[in-house]
Structures are given as C-alpha cells and as structure tokens.
C-alpha cells in the first residue's frame, strides 16, 4: 500500500516536472511512456523482450554457477582465496563499457559476448556474498559435523550450504537488477534486437518515450524477478537471524 502510494507520488511529480521542462526527448512524462509502451506492445513484448530475456537468463544463470563455484573454491583454502580473489577484483574493476570494443573484436556481435557482459557484471556480487556466507559458518556446528565423522562433502551439503544460503540470496537480490540492466548495456555493445538495443535506437530518433518504453518493460521484468527472490528468501532463508 505505501509502495503504491509512493510510486504514484513519484509518477505525479515526474509528470509535472516533464510538463514543465517540456523536452520530451530528454525527460518524457510517465503518461507518454505508458502510451508508447502500449503502442509498441507487440514489438516490445513479443520481439524484443524474449531476446533480452534469454540473455538475462543465460548470463545471470551462468554468473550464479560461476560465482558459486568460485565461492566454494575460495572457501576451501586460503591459498585459493589469495590466488583467486585479486584476479576477481581486477576483472571487476574493468568497466565493461571500456573494453567493449575488444570484446566485440574477440566475440563479434554474438550472444556469447552479451552473455559475458552480464556474467562479468553480476558474478562478483554473488561470489563475494556466498563466499562470506561460507566464512561465517558457525564453528560449533562445524565441529559437531566433524564429530559425526562427516566427510567434506557431507559438511558442505548439510551445513555449509544451508548456512550460506541467506547470504547467497542477498547476492541474488543485489545482482538481479544489474543482470537486467546490463543485458541492455550488452545490447548497445552489439546486437540488432532486444530492449536495450531498441532503447538506444530510439535515442537517435530523439524519441524520448520510445527510449523509456523498453526500459519500462525492463523494470517490469525486474519487479517480477524480485518478487520471486523475495518469496525464496522467505521460504529458504528464514533462518538468517538464527545463525
């Protein structure tokens, strides 16, 4: 309820601001954007969205896999941590936008290039959170598992994974919007379709509502994704405060 209220308030202020400024290709009002989204609904939802959605799923999915793998590796030994972490940090410090031309040279305008952009921008947040989750496994419980004669795999599956789960979910929550937004950025770096591409294309037409209509769709995707993660959070990370 307060959410709807605030959202409404923001929209109203925005609309008023847009009406005052009256440079629609820079700051279109929400009404224009919504109208445009409706007008373009077929292409936005049926043509551009599936394309973008695929990169988000593939990129973010890979990022999650990769991040968990790295987190596991780093949590196994401090040598691995010392080896891997700085490399991750270096990778993370390089703005994708800057090395995009090199990317494009290496991969061309292929899906792999776009997916890599999403992976690069999201894996770090997930990896770090998950890794810290592993580091915070309660010592007493660890000792208990060892006393059962549990092997590393057993300890991992039955203790470490559930203990790190809340942190992992925090990582997901944090990176989901980035996965979505960077799919758009990735499309700017080379694609002939997709919501991000479409938006950028509209910039050259000076069509403000057209720029923001695909973004509105991106927002909807994000909200849906967030709702799913929040549900998961309630379901499987309820023990966050009991750890």
């Amino acid at each position: 309820m307060p959410a709807a209220f605030l959202l409404l308030a923001v929209l109203v202020i925005w609309q008023i601001a847009a009406d005052i400024i009256r440079i629609p290709h820079i700051l279109p009002g929400p009404s224009a954007i919504i109208a445009k989204t409706w007008a373009l609904r077929r292409t936005l939802f049926l043509v551009q969205l599936p394309y973008t959605f695929f990169s988000v799923l593939a990129g973010w999915g890979l990022a999650i896999l990769f991040a968990v793998l790295l987190a596991v590796l780093m949590s196994r030994s401090s040598l691995l941590e010392d080896m891997i972490y700085p490399v991750l940090l270096v990778i993370q410090t390089v703005p994708v936008m800057c090395i995009a031309p090199l990317f494009v040279l290496w991969f061309g305008y292929t899906a792999s290039g776009r997916i890599l952009v999403i992976v690069l921008s999201t894996f770090f947040g997930i990896a770090l959170n998950t890794f810290d989750g592993f580091r915070e496994v309660d010592r007493g419980r660890m000792e208990l598992m060892e006393s059962f004669g549990a092997g590393r795999l057993q300890i991992f599956l039955r203790l470490e994974v559930p203990s790190a789960l809340p942190r992992f979910l925090t990582g997901l929550k944090m990176t989901l919007p980035w996965a979505v937004v960077d799919s758009a950025v990735a499309e700017w770096l080379g694609a002939t379709r997709g919501l991000g591409y479409f938006s950028k294309r509209m910039v050259t037409h000076m069509d403000g509502p057209g720029v923001f209509a695909p973004i509105l769709v991106l927002c909807l995707v994000t909200i849906a994704g967030m709702a799913v993660i929040d549900l998961l959070d309630r379901r499987i990370a309820g023990h966050r405060s009991a750890l």
């Binding site: 440079i23 820079i26 031309p101 494009v104 080379g190 002939t192 479409f198 910039v203 000076m206």
Partner: protein, 318 residues
C-alpha cells in the same frame, strides 16, 4: 588464428561470403547496398553479402582489420589514423560520399553567425574524440579564434541532448543526413556549419574499407563487390520512391523503425553528396587524399605523412 588475411568463406552454392559492417544503423545512405542485394547484383558477382550494423563506429575498421568482416564503412580520418598510427592492414577502396557530411550545428536562438565571430566565450560540445576536437579547433582558428576564446565540452556520445538541453551553444560532429534532419523534423530551428566552410579540406564522408592483405589475395572479389554497389547506386539515384519503399521494407524493422519522412529528407540531402560533378559514386583521387593526409599531419593527428596509396586502392572495376 584470427584470420586476418581471410577473404571470406564460400557458401554451399559456391558464393563467396562478404560481411559488410556499416558505420551506423541502416539508413538512406546505405540504400545502394540494399538495392544491390535486392536486385541480385551481388549474387551475379558470385557474392553473398551480409549487412551488419555496428555498436560503435570504430567497429567497422576493427572488424576489417581483424578479418571478422570483409568490408567496413568508415571515415577517411579513421582510415588514415588506423594505417599511419596503428599500422593496421586496412585501405579504402571506394568513396560512398564525395563530400564530408559531418557538420557543426547550433540552435538559431543562440544566434551564432556564419563568420564564427560570435563564437567567442561560447561552449562547444563534442563527442570527446580526437577527430572532432581537431576539426573544431581547426575551424575555429580558421575563423580567427584562439583556443582560449571558447570552451570545448566533452558531452559523451549524445550530441543532440547537449544541444537541446542548452548545456552547450554549438556542437561539432552531427551528420548532415541524420541529426540535422531529425532535429528539423522535431521542430528545432538550427543553423548548420559544414567544417569545409572553415578551412577543413574537403574529403570523402564515408569510405569502403577493406583488409589490404585480403585484397591482395583476391582483388576480383572486391571489384565484383564494387561493381554491384555501383549498380545499386544507379537504382538508388533513379528511383526515389522505389528507394524509399526499399528502405521501409528492408531496412526498417521492429528493431530499427525508420520514418519515411525522415528518410526522404535524408535521401534528398544525400544524393548530391554521393555523386558530384567532379566525382562519380565510389571514385577517389589522390589529390583529395593527399590534401587530407597533409592536413591531418598539420593538425598533429598523425605523426608522419604517407602516400595516398598507403591508405587507399583505386581498383579498376569496369
């Protein structure tokens, strides 16, 4: 393993694959390619052409240099820079337009006069690239302004925003066939200042770049490509309505929606640029290149001079 010298694979039906990277989204200036494709001119030359629109304008040269594409549409200033400063194996083989299309624009309300005297104390927006900076500085100094008389502002890649939000008084870098028309269609009253009016030597606006190593290996393929392009251009020139239909049918899509009115404006603007009384479509001459190479050295863009034949080839494709 990067296939730098590659001259394209062959398809099953014996056609040679030619990937063409554009300088920008498909628009009227590219109609000749689409005509050639539509009418099967490429096919007749034994070519299968794929048209790729780029993410960044530098992609065309980079793709050609690295062998990822066979032909790229680019600018002479970039081509010369790539060859002289970066030692990249690229050369121009034909001019898409005979005249420069990059201009400076200001809103009429800013009342910047033709003689540029009124530029004093104004903010000039540019896209942050060296090319633009050099051309703007050259134009300003031609008009008798010293660098401290005006302020250069890097406005990123969004020139129109900078202008219309009035954060700068004039921008350098828009294209005569694109931003100019868009702004006019949006109802902005603007003044257009071609660089060539301010001492920047006339040169070709867009050129077709190829990998020079690949060219040596298979010049016939490229000649065939040029032949087909020329035929395409004839169709483009002779049939305005047909061209606009083609644009709306082939280039415009869900993802690249084009506006017929806009493209019509673009088409009409473009034709006199693509072929002039001094130069037919695709032709180039040493003098023009030489003048531009010299000018670039003068402006400090290149470190050394070069011969026109270092940066371009004049294939005999009749």
């Amino acid at each position: 393993g990067t296939g730098s010298g590659s001259s394209g694979k062959k398809t099953k039906d014996g056609l040679k694959e030619v990937d063409v990277v554009l300088d920008w989204y498909p628009n009227a200036v590219h109609s000749f390619l689409y005509w050639a494709q539509e009418k099967g001119y490429f096919r007749k030359e034994g070519l299968k052409v794929k048209i790729i629109s780029p993410a960044e304008s530098v992609d065309a040269i980079n793709f050609v240099a690295s062998g990822k594409a066979q032909v790229g549409i680019s600018y002479p200033i970039d081509t010369i820079n790539a060859v002289v400063n970066k030692h990249m194996p690229v050369k121009a083989i034909g001019a898409v337009t005979q005249k420069q299309m990059v201009v400076m624009i200001s809103l009429q309300s800013n009342s910047i006069t033709k003689d540029f005297k009124t530029l004093k104390g104004k903010k000039i927006g540019y896209d942050g690239t060296n090319d633009s900076k050099v051309q703007i500085q050259a134009a300003a100094s031609y008009a008798g302004l010293k660098p401290e008389d005006y302020e250069l502002v890097d406005v990123g890649f969004d020139l129109t925003t900078a202008l219309t939000s009035k954060k700068v008084d004039i921008v350098g870098g828009p294209m005569i066939n694109d931003e100019v028309i868009t702004l006019r269609n949006k109802g902005y009253k603007i003044n257009v200042f071609p660089y060539t009016d301010y001492g920047v030597p006339e040169c070709y606006g867009l050129v077709l770049d190829v990998n020079s190593e690949a060219y040596e290996k298979d010049p016939e393929m490229y000649k065939g490509f040029l032949r087909a392009c020329r035929k395409g251009f004839r169709d483009m020139k002779s049939d305005e309505n047909g061209t606009l239909d083609l644009i709306m049918k082939r280039m415009s899509s869900d993802s690249n929606p084009l506006n017929r009115k806009q493209q019509k404006g673009s088409y009409e603007t473009l034709l006199p640029y693509m072929e002039t009384k001094d130069g037919n479509f695709l032709t180039m001459n040493d003098a023009t290149w030489n003048a531009f190479i010299k000018w670039m050295k003068q402006q400090g863009v290149t470190k050394e001079l070069c011969k026109p034949s270092d940066v371009m080839i004049k294939p005999d494709f009749r």
